[in-house]
Every structure is written in C-alpha cells, then in structure tokens.
Symmetry: C2
Subunit: 435 residues, 2 copies
C-alpha cells in the first residue's frame, strides 16, 4: 500500500468542488528548489527582486511618520477603487516621460500592476479566448491568463522585439481557426524575460496590425524608465490611445513592497476596470498610495531613477562580461539596454530544467526558459537576472554556471542528451521571487 | 437626434470584446447620489467606514518610522504570496479569541478580506454554480459572486440569524433542479446588513446541514470581536475545521486603509488559494503586514478593541433610541449586539430606493435594501450604519429620516404607492464607502 503525501490532490476532499479554472493552478515544480536557492551561499540569478539599497530610508521613514501623524485618519481609512486623485495626477506626469498624454480620470490605481493584468484579463477574457503574447513572456502574465482559462499563442521576437510578420501570421491563423483573439499582451521595453526592446520603427506597424484585426493591445511597461543610458521610448499608448490599455508600476522605480501600480485605459474600459477592482479588493491601500504620492512630491525621484539605472548598468556589465569570458561555445544571449534580464540559449543537448538542480548544488540559480512559454518550449533557454546581487556576486555566479554547463555538455557529448524537450509542461504559477 | 453621454455603453467601441462576466459589472445607480451624500451637511447613515478616531496615531507613526528605518529593505520589497510568518502566527492568536485552533501554515494573508472572498470564489465557482447566502447579504460579496457568474440563492434569516429549515429547503430545491451548490456564504456575527447574530444553538445544525449536502461553508467574520459587551461566539470554523473556509480582517479592529485580511482554509484549499493569490497580486503589501504585526506585538490591541466596542455601542444606542422616538408606526428594525448596522423595514407603500433622493435632499443618507439582494427584493428595507458619525449626528440624522419617511407615508396614503417594487435590479457593485 502506498500513501501519498498529505495535501496531494488525490487526498483533497474538496477536489470535485473546484471550478474548472482551478485545475490549471498548479505549483511550480521548481518551487521547492527556490527555497534552497534563497540560501545566502547560492548566487541567485533567478529572482526579479529590485535592488533597493539606494533608497533613502531615513527620509522615507520621516515622511511616512509625518503622514501618519497628520493624515492618519485618511491614510488608515478605506478609499475609492479609483485611487487617490493627487496620485493619479502624478502618475500622468510619470507617464509623460514616455510621451503619454492622459487624463487622471482614466487612471485606475491597482495593487501592483499584476492586479491590473488580472483585472484586464477578467473583463476581456472568456474561457477559450486567445491572448497573443511574445514568446517568451512574463511568467506572471501566463499564470493570470491561465487562471481565466485563456489560451496563449506565442509570437516570435528577434533582437528588435516582437516580429510584425509573425504577429500577422498568428492573427491570421487564429482567425481562420475561428478563435476569438482578445488582446496582444506585450512588454515593449527591456522585455521580461527576453531583455530586448521593441524597435521604435516597428511600433506603429504593430499597432496598425492589431487595429486592423480589431485586437486590443495591453502594454505592460514596468521597466521603461530603467534604460541604462537614460533613454526612453514612446509608449505604444502614446501612439494609439483608443486601442491600448497601459499597465504601469512603481515596483521597479520606487518600492515593490508597497504594491502600487496602475492601469491607464480608454474611458469606457476604465469604468469596467474600476468595477472589477471594487469586487476584487474594494480599494488599493490608502497609506501606500499616500506614501508614493508624498515621495513623488518631495523627493528627487528622477534622480533616484538615475541611480537605479547606473546600479543596474553595472550589474548588466558584470553579467554580460562574465558570460563572454566563461560560457562554453554555442551559448548565445541577449544584451539588454535596460531592465533586469538576460535571456540565454544553450547548446543542443542541454535541458535547462533538468540542469537546474545541479546548478543549485553548485550554488547558482536561474529560471529555466520553460516557465516563460505556455507551450512547453524553452528547455534550451534560461533567464538570468542581474537586478539583485552585487556585480561581484554576479561574476562569481556566472563562473559557477559556466562550470555546471561545461560539465553538462561533456556528459551530453559522451552519453547523448540527458533529457529531451518535454512538450506541454505549460506555464506554472511562480513565486513572486521569480516574477 | 439624441446623443448619449460619453462613456455610455452603446458608444463603447470595446463593447463586443468584453468577457461574458463583464456584462454583470454595472455601476450602482446610487453612486452619483453618494457623491452628494458625502458632503459634510449630510448625515450619512450609509457608509460602512470604521471609526478610527480612537487610534493612537502618534504611537503608530513612531512605530512605522522605526520599522522603515530598521527593516525598510524588507518592508519595501516583494514578499511571499503566503504572507509574513510572524503575522500568520499572530493571526492564529487573534482567531483563538473565537475558539479557533489553527496552524499558521493554513493562513493566507490577503489584500483585505474582500480579496479572500474573491479568491475563494475564483477557485470554487464556475459560471452557473450556486452560492447560498443570507437574504439580505453583504453587497460586496454579491458583487464578487456576480463577477464569477455564480447565481445567488438567498436564505431567510430571523432574529437568531440564518434559519436552518430555510437552508435545508433551499439546498433541496437547488439539488432537485440539478444545480451545483458550491458553498454557503455566511456572516454569522453582527451581520452586514441585517445586524443579527447566528444563535450559538443553531451553529452545529447549520454545519451539519452543509456537511450532509457536501456544501462548503465560507464564514465571513469581520465584526466578530466587536460585540458591545465584549461577548464572542464560537466561530463556525472552530466547530468544523475541514468544511469551513474562514475570512478574517483587520479593517474593523485596526485599520481598513492598510487592506490586511486573511483566509484560513483546509490545507489542500489553502494551496489553491495561494496560487490564485499569486496570479492576482503576486503578494500582499509587505509594509502593511509588518505594520499590523508590529501593532499586535507592541500595542494593547485588545484594549483598543474594547474602546472600539464602547464607541460603537454609544452610536448604536443613539440610533436605536432615535428610531424608537421618531419613526412612524409600522416601521421595524433589528437591534444589533455588535458590529455596525441596523436593518429597518418600512411600511407598505414606501420604496426605499425611490425615497433616497428625497432623503439626501433632506440631508440624510442610507442604503436601500435592494442592493443587498441578488433578486430585486429589499425595496421596503434599508441599512442604517451607526459606525462613523458621532452619536449627536446620528440622532439628528434619524430625526431627518423620520420626517422624510412621514412625508412619504402621507403621500402614499393620499395618492397610493409612489413606486412599486421593481424586480430584477440585482446586485450592483457599490463604492467601498457603502460596503
């Protein structure tokens, strides 16, 4: 007689009660591994946690204290689902840096932009609807689309981002199969996980393709202000306000732990989003909105972003020069001009998912590419994050990873591939530490 | 030619793109009215906003400042979707006051208990599934059930809460119609909006009925510690841990604006909830969890709750004695022993929804009963909140309301009913100010 471990699905007395959508909610197989990966001796190139060491904690501390003393009865009370008016004004100023002209009424404040993504999917996607997304795409988005039983169709990228011709083909194929395509989900700037940026010359074309197919564009832009040379790009929203829903976040430019993000949407959509948000959380935390608003009003937040840019540039340099120095022949990677991530492809014969336990044993962690695809692709890819560890640790991590990869290639050359690509593993809900 | 106002649904170019569930998301007709009702000259007996004036703002301010100075890099960073371990430990201590014995692993911290409700509905309800709820029920819950296209079947209450025989009948009827009933949603203590409490003698019976019909119980308990005599009742969860999902909140015992709530669920369900929560918001705000945890660890939070109890008791007394003194014959109301709300029934011929604009003109606001039913019932009922205004303002509000009602009855007696009951208005998503 074999006993399954407590909590396994077949012992779950509630199994037959779950909604159909809950069947798709399964824990990432690598979750247990990440518990190990978070040990201090492991260099984690896996996490997407922003580096907060440059934040002015003493100033913040004093500001928040003042805010609670003077406005505590507001800060600790329910607010509206729309979000604080003064913060929505300021959000419009932030978006103006990427050429967006917007009315504060059309901004809805959310509990991180993840909630924005959840709300957009909620109001647009019926089960079986199709969402077009870059391949690879943000793992947290794939999880959300899965939770609403939407099917993801991936479209190829190259070093200039989403390939317009591939988008045209994907839309034509879906339409001829009678599928309802609801929106294109895209991260145009410093893509997570691919590290590439959609060329400005492609932006109008992508928008025109979507418009001609009557497909909405959902533009997710958490990293847009983190260009390493201070460069920004015109947001898709700035070029087609009526057909783009824009997702923004303070998680990477200020503080992820406050969970303050926003959605900018065409007016009618904004109304639906607000109603959806009310039924989801009633309102975003008032205190957190006031903290962000105060920070934007009193702190040199643009200067702060410049210091983030410079910190991340140093880390990108450490990662990329380490890769150039140590990686075995046959590896290739993207060289991001901003953001947090490098996307690496390893030689035939290596399975990045199968290799991960060996990497963690060698005290280095990454995320296997399969998590970023809804279709089982990605077993020869991995995401390397350079946002969190110091440059020195990153260099050490790359050395360790290169050694693991070299050993893996030796084995593969001697005995053949260790593990073939396994199709259909699908997206798994990650811990936020790898989002 | 008539032009509809901007934003009206027929001018929405995205109309044919929405998910089926979005059709049910419509703004409350009384939303505009509540903008008026929030003017200072109006006595609002409508809002469910807790009274925060007793909170020790200076102490809180100092604690939060210290927390950001010392632990800012944690407080401002992503956390886990599970919630902070120390807070989950403390939540178990809070629940022990209502005889719940729980393991902190089985607690999931949420962005207010509204998010807990959303997550529970997400993992259990397919479109067309039935949720049993008290009639009337919490308007925010009806909105959430609507967002997941679940159908609500109301079950009658009396002064001892949910009527077991009515529950039995509702389950039998639903089953014989071949409907899938997923759970009973119940607010056993100091019900919103009805003001009644489920008699302890009925609790085991309600649980047994649900268990025998294989229906889960979702126990929503935001007011349980706000009994005016300090009395508490054994939670349903304490009597049937395997078949009850428990929703808790710090919104009424500490600070609503922090949006910190929790779900306590059987182990297998907890796992699904956590995955659902990850795809919804990645994680609850770390800073807010640390603020609550610090408050519970260092402040006399039980003493604080006693002061809340006493403030709300004074307000309940002001409301109820005003009603006794001023209301026309034929009105009846509940007399709550805790919580925030009185539920009043007015004489035949008066429609509380039609009367509301006249009440607001007379500078008093309430919520019409129709918002608390999914089936159009409630037009002779209203919810009167005593949580927010001072006792003096409450007394004044009741005088104004009684005058409006008397005038309305005069008219009805002279000319017949002003407006008949309109069926099928259904639940509408309220602003959080009336939740």
């Amino acid at each position: 007689m074999s006993l399954e471990p407590a909590g396994s699905r077949s012992l779950d007395p509630h199994l037959r009660r779950y909604a159909a959508r809950a069947a798709g909610m399964t824990a990432s197989e690598v979750r247990a591994l990440f518990a190990v990966a978070s040990r201090p001796e492991v260099v984690s190139l896996a996490g997407g946690m922003p580096n907060l060491t440059a934040l002015p904690l003493d100033t913040l501390s004093a500001q928040v204290a003042d805010l609670i003393t003077k406005d505590g009865l507001v800060a600790l009370q329910y607010g509206s689902a729309h979000g604080l008016p003064e913060l929505r004004d300021q959000i419009c100023e932030v978006m103006a840096l990427e050429q967006i002209r917007a009315h504060p009424d059309d901004v809805v404040v959310t509990v991180g932009s993840q909630m924005g993504l959840d709300m957009v999917t909620r109001i647009f996607c019926d089960p079986g609807d199709v969402v077009i997304a870059e391949g690879p795409s943000y793992v947290g988005a794939l999880g959300t689309f899965g939770a609403y039983q939407a099917d993801v169709v991936h479209v190829a990228m190259d070093e200039d981002g989403l390939v317009p011709e591939a988008l045209r083909e994907a839309l034509a194929t879906a339409e001829s199969a009678g599928r309802r395509v609801k929106f294109l989900y895209t991260i145009p700037n410093f893509h997570n996980p691919a590290g590439v940026t959609l060329a400005v010359s492609r932006r109008a074309e992508i928008l025109e393709i979507c418009r001609s197919h009557q497909v909405l564009v959902v533009e997710d832009n958490p990293y847009g202000l983190l260009g390493f040379d201070g460069q920004t790009y015109p947001a898709l929203r700035s070029m087609d306000p009526d057909n783009v829903v824009y997702l923004g976040s303070f998680s990477k430019t200020f503080a992820a732990g406050l969970r303050v993000g926003w959605v900018l949407a065409p007016h009618a959509v904004r109304e639906k989003l607000m109603l959806a948000a009310e039924s989801a959380t009633l309102c975003p935390p008032t205190l957190n909105q006031m903290i962000v608003s105060r920070y934007l009003a009193t702190h040199d937040w643009k200067g702060q972003i410049k210091s983030f840019q410079s910190a991340y540039r140093d880390r990108r340099d450490a990662l990329v020069s380490g890769l150039e120095q140590h990686m075995p022949a046959g590896c290739s990677w993207t060289v991001p001009k901003g953001g947090f991530f490098v996307w690496m492809t390893v030689p035939e014969g290596v399975d990045t998912k199968a290799m991960l336990p060996r990497a963690v044993t060698a005290r280095v962690a990454y995320v296997s590419g399969t998590g970023f695809y809804a279709d089982g692709f990605g077993s020869r890819q991995m995401r390397l994050s350079f946002c969190y560890p110091t440059p020195e640790r990153i260099s050490e991590g790359v050395r360790r990873l290169a050694a693991v990869l070299a050993a893996e290639l030796d084995l593969a050359n001697t005995f053949g591939p260790i593990s073939g690509r396994r199709a259909g593993t699908g997206p798994q809900v990650p811990g936020p530490d790898i989002a």
